[in-house]
Symmetry: C2
Subunit: 215 residues, 2 copies
């Protein structure tokens, strides 16, 4: 199940700001979003935000971190489940895609954070913060990496170049953060089916057998 911000952050005031900030960053991008924009979307002013966060970069880093921690929390219960690796991958992938959809704003921030770091668009001080976050993120990626290797060893997946395959897999699984938008009257089941289609596409890309692809 997907986890929201309020379950993760105890401080309500901070959680509200983080959620508003995530939405603004998603809608307008990092630089195009002013602190006043975030404040306005809360019906407040700058003072409120700077009372809880030291800087704009700091606020963004927290949104970044939050997005990743929610992913970890969603994946944790699935890590040690038994059975074939390919089945475990499918559960993990499904959970991941669900996170991409249900916490889209935060995941966009994660994406942007990675992009900013790679481009070096960070203050030296921020660079260490981002470095730690990306370290954490790469561990997250490794969880998938290990599973698909294991599934290949078990004969369920079939691919040659691990790095590229892993890259492409994540590209597919993450893609909803770019094209998904909620439809009116959409149920939880609708979203899960949507996620399943994404997972199936990635499954095929990994060389997964077709019989198991439908679930």
């Amino acid at each position: 199940m997907a986890l929201g911000v309020r379950e993760q952050v105890l401080d309500h005031a901070r959680a509200d700001i983080l959620e508003a900030a995530a939405t603004c960053f998603m809608e307008r991008g990092y630089t195009e979003t002013s602190i006043d924009d975030v404040a306005r979307s809360l019906g407040a002013t700058k003072g409120r935000i700077y009372h809880h966060f030291r800087s704009k970069a700091d606020l963004f880093a927290e949104v970044f971190r939050m997005g990743m921690e929610m992913n970890y929390a969603a994946l944790e219960p699935l890590r040690l489940t038994r059975g074939r690796a390919s089945a475990r991958w499918r559960r993990m992938a499904q959970a991941h895609v669900m996170q991409m959809i249900t916490t889209k704003a935060f995941q966009r921030a994660v994406w942007m954070g990675v992009d900013m770091h790679l481009r070096g668009a960070t203050t030296p001080e921020q660079r260490t913060t981002f470095g730690a976050l990306l370290q954490h993120r790469s561990e997250y990626g490794n969880m998938f990496r290990e599973v698909i290797v294991q599934a290949r060893d078990e004969g369920d997946f079939d691919f040659t170049n691990l790095s590229i395959t892993n890259q492409l897999m994540f590209m597919t699984l993450n893609s909803p953060i770019f094209w998904y938008s909620p439809r009116t009257g959409e149920t939880r089941a609708d979203i899960e089916e949507l996620a399943q289609q994404v997972v199936t596409c990635a499954w095929r890309g990994l060389g997964g057998k077709e019989e198991q692809a439908k679930r």
Copy 2:
């Protein structure tokens, strides 16, 4: 074969600026890139750029347009080739991925342009320009859409939801603009093999038969 800027743009002065601008936009993003940055990377000043382009938004739009036109030019010779649709798709996809890699900076601008348009981060005047460009781009997308439908009708592809499948396919084919970076001593053949792996992954996602997947 991939086409560069100089083949497309007659005016050398404009071509130089466009190339520098594309690189800057890729490295720093649109807003983070100042006109002075672009000028500095050319060893020049603002004056040179504003002599050839009316505004920053206009400069960006030209980079955007250039990226798309190069794609069209690369795809044009393949449009009407004979044979099975799935084979034609493979050739088109291969050419597309090659474009993503060899003109990465411009393709990133295209991506950013789409993103900006969707977010409404454009001046009203720019909005019409972008609208036309995106119209053109959607035609480009339709060329692939038609081919994969045809290939499905011929029994070579197998998928249910066209929209999502098309979305995910492009996501995979475009992905090199995010993760590709040239290696020292890399040959044309190396890049083509890399592209082939991406194409194969997308092929599988479309439900393509495995026998033909290796080429």
